[in-house]
Structure formats: C-alpha cells, structure tokens
C-alpha cells in the first residue's frame, strides 16, 4: 500500500467530518419534521428511516389511484384470519348492533360510536387497490367515514402525532401518523362493493389506508387512540407488526 500523503489525510479527514456532520444534520432535521419511524432502532433502522422519510416527503398529499367499477376484482380474496372467538360470534349474531368504536387519547371529547352512527356520518366511496405484502392484490369499492371526520367530531388536540387503532383480535394493533390519519382517503370502512363489509374482509369496521400495504388496513377495529408518542404502546415500536418482525411503515 502506498503511504498516505498529508493532502490525502486532510481530504479524507474533511470528507469524514463533512459526512458525519451531514448525517447528524439530516438526523436532526428528520426528528424535527417527524420523519423517523417508531421502529427505527436496530439493524434495519437506517433503511426504514430513509424509506419512511423519502416517501413522507414525496407523498404527504398524494391521492391513491382510484379505479373504475369495471376494474373491481371479481371475486376479491379475503386473507385468512385467526379464529374470531365466541364474543365476536355473539356480536355477529346481533348484527353488530352492540359493536362500538371507541375514540380516546388526546381528544377533547372521547366518544364511542355504533356502526349505525358511523353509517349516518358523511361518507366517502372509493375504488382502490388493496395490496398484500405477500404480493397479491385486489381492487374493491370501499365506503366509509373519513377518519379525519371522526377526529374532527371528537376534537383532536394540537399535539396529536399518531392514531393508534386496535382490532377485536387482541394481538393486533396498528398506528399511522397524522399525514395518513388526516388523509381524505383514509376511511373507517363499513361497506364494500355496495353491501355491508363482510366479516372475512374485516366487517363490521375496518380501517382502510390505501397508500400503505394491506396489513395497515386493520380488520375489526374497536378503538382509536390519538397520541403524541408511540413509546408506551406495546413495545414502543408503533404497532404489533414490528414485534413480529414486520415494518411499521408499509408504503412499499
């Protein structure tokens, strides 16, 4: 190996300093603008942060593509879910009249809504693509209440940064940032392809987050919690998915 000249040493030193301070500035900016995902620790943190930050900057206001009625998949495919249990069956036998969606956390007026109440709220209908991380997908028409409307009704406090949502299945919970929570296409969906949302597809209520993969569109939602930090939910990784090895952000 050739001996390093002073010039090479100075250049390398300057480059290293510039690189390190560049990274530090980037990290500080990312934290400041909320571009660090909750599962950013660990081996895959750098890649996850780059993906989340880049996609947030590119897609903050973008709308998921909507399709024509002729493009609806016939029939759609419902991924298998673990058994729902007797409590769910009892609710189902009562046509989900006793189902409640509780909204709490950093809100002015915590509330619990029945499915019928939600069906009486302003609704949005959209034909969107639902893609599973496994690689398959289908297109369906979804009708529901924009999550932003529900958040308006309960009065989200200004420090809100995430909405945590839970499934009737106790092991399943998710969260999204406010960019997705307030996005006009993020729905608490109660209907699909013109009828009530079928149970295999998440009925009576499913959150639809069409700009992320299907596992963010949690089935059987029972509770929304508005929060400024995900630290105290589960292991603090943002949702149950990172606890089983999957990324919190699923925009890709």
């Amino acid at each position: 190996m050739s001996k390093l000249s002073r010039r090479q040493l100075i250049t390398a030193g300057l480059a290293t300093t510039a690189g390190a301070s560049g990274l530090a500035v980037a990290a500080a900016l990312a934290r400041r603008y909320g571009l660090i995902p909750p599962d950013a620790g660990g081996l895959y943190g750098p890649g996850e942060t780059l993906t989340y930050a880049a996609q947030r900057l590119l897609t903050r206001h973008s709308l998921a593509r909507e399709f024509s009625a002729g493009q609806i998949s016939k029939p759609p495919f419902a991924n298998e879910v673990s058994p729902l249990g007797d409590d769910f069956k009892r609710l189902q036998q009562g046509s989900f009249a006793a189902w409640r969606l509780a909204v709490d956390g950093m809100v002015a007026r915590p509330a619990a809504f029945s499915v019928d109440e939600l069906k009486s709220f302003p609704r949005r209908t959209q034909i969107t693509h639902l893609a599973c991380e496994e690689g398959w997908s289908y297109i369906a028409e979804w009708t529901g209440v924009p999550l932003s409307h529900i958040l308006d009704v309960v009065g989200t406090l200004p420090q809100a940064r995430y909405v945590v949502y839970r499934s009737f299945q106790p092991d399943w919970w998710e969260s999204i940032d406010m960019a997705d929570a307030l996005h006009p296409q993020t729905l608490v969906a109660h209907s699909m392809n013109g009828g009530s949302l079928p149970v295999p597809f998440g009925g009576p209520l499913r959150l639809r987050v069409p700009r992320q993969l299907a596992y963010k569109s949690l089935k059987y939602i029972t509770r929304l919690t508005v929060t400024d930090s995900l630290k105290h939910f589960g292991k603090g990784l943002g949702s149950s998915e990172p606890e089983t090895g999957y990324a919190w952000y699923a925009g890709i």
Binding site: I10, L58, H129, E134, R211, Q212, A247
Partner: protein, 250 residues
Amino acid sequence: MADSTYGAVPASAAPLAAPRPRHAAIVRLTHWITTLAFLALLLSGIEILISHPRFYWGEAGNVLSPPLFKLPIPASRATVPTGYGYVLPDQNGWSRYLHFQSAWVAVLTGFLYVVFGILSGHFRRNLLPARLSLREISAVIASHLRSRSAAADAWSYNVLQRLAYLLVIFVLFPLVIWTGLAMSPAIASAFPPAVTVWGGQQSARTLHFFISIALVVFLLVHLVMVWRSGLRARVRAMITGRPPTPEERT
C-alpha cells in the same frame, strides 16, 4: 493549503513509481458494496417471492384470479395452492426490511458510481464501445468460444463486455428499481404513470421478477468469465487495483 510543497512531493512522485491502477478506487469500492447489496436483494427477494410464487398481468391478481404463470415451488403461505403438502416458514418480515435497506445501499452506491463514471471519463474510456459493428461482435463471440486465452489476455473490455456492462448499469438496474418502486402503493399514489406505463402493479411485479432473472444471468456469466480469465488476478485487481504482472495473465 493542500498544495503545500510537503504534500505535493509524494503526490506527484507516486504515479511514476506505481502503475496506474487497473480499476479506480471508487469503482472497486462501489463494485463490492453493490455485490453485497445485490446478494442481499437476491436472497430477500427470493424469500418474499415464495410467499406468493404466482404472477399476474395488469393491476390486480390473487389466488382467485388466473395467473399469468406460477412457479412450481412450495409457498410460505397456506392460502396459496401449490400442490405441495407443506408450507414453508414465513420469512417476509426481515426479508422486506433487508430488501429495502439493501435497495437503498444499491441505489446510493449506484448514484455515486454513475456520477464518478461520468465525471472521471470512466464510462467514456472503459465502457462506451468505440464503434458498433456486428462483425466485431461476432468475432468476439467466436474467439471466446475458441479459447480461454482470448479472455485471459484481454485487460481492456471488448465490445460485447462493454455492451453488457452498459446494459446492466443503464437499463437493467434502473428498470429493476423502477418496477420495484411501482409496486409501492405510496409511490403509485405520487406518480401514477410510473405504474400505468407497465400496465399495472401486478405487471410491474412480474417485470421485476424477469429483470431480476436477467441480472442473475449477468452475474453468472460475469462469474464464469472472471473464472476463465484468471480468477485470482481478476479478483485481486478489483480489490487492490493492482494490475497483474505478465506471468499472472495466464
């Protein structure tokens, strides 16, 4: 400051003492980083693929829709009908994390390499063919088929190699990144034409698979050529930059 006489002496004397490196330091560095990233992408890509070894054309596709084709392999999901009586373990969690992290490494490294390649004249000097003639291309193929010494003697890329490298750097890598991004629902929302130009998200997934196959074929041919033309000397040249001595060129 950097041009002090003390610093300038070894810098100007060095080129006389040492021969010009076979590959520039940036080329060597980016080559091996890309190698690692590509192997990680390949491994994690295969893991993700086996959760749904079926391919479709158009926007949407699932086990209830007719596939364009399916791979005759077992799957890591019970919902996929494969004909095998067992289901492989689910490895998608870390595979997806690793796939996207490696993709970032490959993209950023590739960016550095392309900028360097343009500014330094690396592409112009080493990769752009001087002229394109079918006669020359067929002569190269014939000489490769005839003897291994033709490959071993050459330390400047022939027209076929130049075309292959250009294809990989400027066509296959950009396409595999593009079709990968076209599967992202977030990217699809921001840049719909990036998806529709392929005919839909499932088409992009199918093309992503075929372009990956093309890259693997390139890798295999590349390995065979390096093997045939003197593995040790070639690998050392790509690690240290030192060109081989004449007796090593056999």
